[in-house]
């Protein structure tokens, strides 16, 4: 059978139509470790794009640095792998220069909330039409397992050998507090829900963030005795509650739970749209004066 | 017109920089060369402020005023600071309310009620810089009144044109009957 890829039509061989259509097979399998949740989340993004019927040519994937950042190289779009923490700032320039592009930022917890935290909160405040998908694995994977801003208090990392003293960030909550007009949380286990959340985030006009709990069996899992990739996914399955369920639960009951679903959505003018309106206004005023 | 090295001093917020910009614009409109620059402290308001305009019919190399041929000071503090630096031949314009420091070498001093005119005659103290511009043009003969008016209108905020033209005219009047001390 054949797949419409937009430019070529080739018999599929050893991958699903979805992967064939949206990935760069010559660069697969990815460098991610066995059981890494990032591959699952990357597929969710592809599925969301497929469901929405976006054109690959007018979709841009921007990434920063870290494990998550490698996603850009695997996905068959206009892709740019930028500097550590700065993916949102690069993406802002791309979206501003050409608002017709669908710009998706794929990032990790260290990239987005430590070195890139400032860009996250300001892009959220600005409400620029980017979709940010966070592969949140609670650790710095690429550098070998240091604690990140989302490592829970007490958990271990190579730089938290006696247990992490920091409190951890709720990235979706942070973005929401900073003014993101769409904030959601998904997980590697909850594939269909997460895909839908990403899909709705892309559709949303304004800044949207989907904080997806990933799994890192190699570092976070091993350091913290969380078992195998399978065990970590099972933990997600058994400890997740929906936003609706969470609303009926006490703080005590919510301890150690992963709340997934749409956390927040509001309509507010998107930045590049507002800027185009400004340009139009100036042009109209000039025409009137002439 | 021979080379003029004009230095205006006052406190931030008095519009000293704008005054030198307008003088520079007047020079350009009159077909001369000019270089305008300024130095100010970190305060937006109230700090000391110095701005300069060089005007010459020759090409201007070095862009800073070295030997002022003209100094105006609108505050005692700025007069005390910059007054003693100028040479004997420099023409010094001061607001009537100020007194020349003892160690000032300059012999040609003109005192005019610039601030008072702005406040009471024009009706807005913020126009003191434009009153001053009128006085300075009259004292130095940079250009004609019409050209100066054009320069003023090019640089004042829209909506304040009438007020500033009045200030300029009051400046002309002030300087007309001036006396050098």
């Amino acid at each position: 059978m054949t797949v419409d890829t937009g430019d070529v039509s080739v018999k599929t061989k050893n991958m699903s139509n979805l992967i064939y259509k949206y990935m760069r097979p010559e660069h697969l399998p990815q460098i991610w470790c066995p059981g890494c949740g990032n591959g699952i989340i990357m597929r969710d993004i592809a599925q969301a794009i497929e469901n929405l019927g976006l054109s690959r040519n007018s979709t841009v994937i921007v990434s920063g640095i870290g494990c998550s950042a490698r996603a850009a190289g695997y996905m068959d779009f206009n892709t740019i792998h930028t500097t550590h923490g700065r993916a949102i700032a690069f993406a802002t320039g791309i979206k501003l220069a050409n608002p017709s592009l669908e710009v998706i930022v794929v990032t990790g917890d260290g990239d987005i909330s430590a070195i890139g935290g400032n860009h996250l909160i300001h892009a959220a405040r600005r409400n620029i039409g980017l979709t940010v998908v966070v592969m949140n694995n609670n650790i710095y994977g690429m550098t070998g397992g240091q604690y990140s801003p989302t490592t829970p208090t007490g958990a271990f990392g190579t730089t938290a050998p006696y247990g992490n003293l920091d409190r951890s960030f709720d990235i979706a909550g942070l973005a929401y507090g900073a003014g993101a007009s769409y904030a959601a949380r998904g997980s590697a286990y909850h594939v269909q829900q997460t895909t839908t959340l990403i899909q709705e985030g892309i559709k949303h006009r304004g800044f949207s963030i989907i904080d997806v709990a990933s799994i890192c069996p190699t570092y976070y899992g091993r350091k913290n005795k969380k078992g195998s990739a399978v065990d970590m996914l099972k933990w997600q399955r058994d400890n997740s509650v929906t936003v609706d369920q969470a609303a009926k639960m006490s703080q005590e009951e919510l301890k150690g739970k992963l709340v997934i679903g749409l956390l927040h959505q509001v309509n507010y003018p998107e930045f590049t749209y507002a800027y185009d309106q400004l340009i139009r206004r100036l042009f109209e005023e000039r025409e009137e004066n002439e | 017109m021979s080379r003029q090295e004009i230095r205006l001093a006052g406190s931030g917020g008095q519009g000293i920089i704008l005054a030198t910009v307008i003088l520079a614009e007047a020079a350009i409109q009159a077909g001369m060369n000019t270089a305008q620059s300024q130095a100010y402290g970190p305060e937006a308001r109230g700090g000391s402020c110095k701005a300069e305009t060089l005007i010459s019919d020759q090409t201007i190399g070095f862009t800073k005023v070295q030997n002022p041929t003209f100094l105006m000071a609108l505050t005692q503090k700025s007069l005390d600071q910059y007054g003693p630096e100028v040479s004997e031949n420099c023409l010094v314009l001061i607001d009537s309310g100020l007194s020349a420091p003892q160690d000032m070498k300059a012999k040609r001093i003109v005192a005019l009620p610039i601030l008072d005119t702005a406040r009471t005659v024009v009706g807005k103290i913020q126009t003191a810089n434009i009153v001053a511009v009128g006085c300075i043009n009259d004292l130095l003969g940079i250009t004609d009144a019409k050209t100066l008016e054009k320069a003023v209108l090019m640089h004042v905020p829209s909506g304040t044109e009438q007020l500033n033209i009045k200030a300029l005219e009051e400046g002309f009047k002030l300087a007309e009957g001036h006396e050098e001390k």
């Binding site: 399998p29 066995p34 059981g35 069996p217 | -």
Partner: protein, 73 residues
């Protein structure tokens, strides 16, 4: 067209996620690679495909050139 389970062993890293979440227990990991478990039934539900981080297992449509219901590379 008949659906078929496809396995691309060259991309499989043997993490075991597909096998763990298969509702019919129809998959197993042997020598770090996934394979069909003998004597089990695959209902082609696609749960394995959804969670395979390496896109090594998926449901495809039968190309008609084989009777096999599972095909490995």
């Amino acid at each position: 067209m008949k659906k078929v389970l496809m396995i691309n062993q060259s991309w499989c890293k043997g993490c075991g996620i597909c096998a763990a979440f298969c509702p019919k227990g129809a998959l197993e990991i042997v020598d770090d690679k996934v394979q069909r478990k003998e004597g089990t039934e695959c209902i082609l539900c696609g749960q394995c495909e959804l969670r395979c981080p390496d896109y090594a297992i998926y449901i495809d449509e039968n190309e008609g050139d084989t009777d096999q219901w599972a095909k490995s590379y």
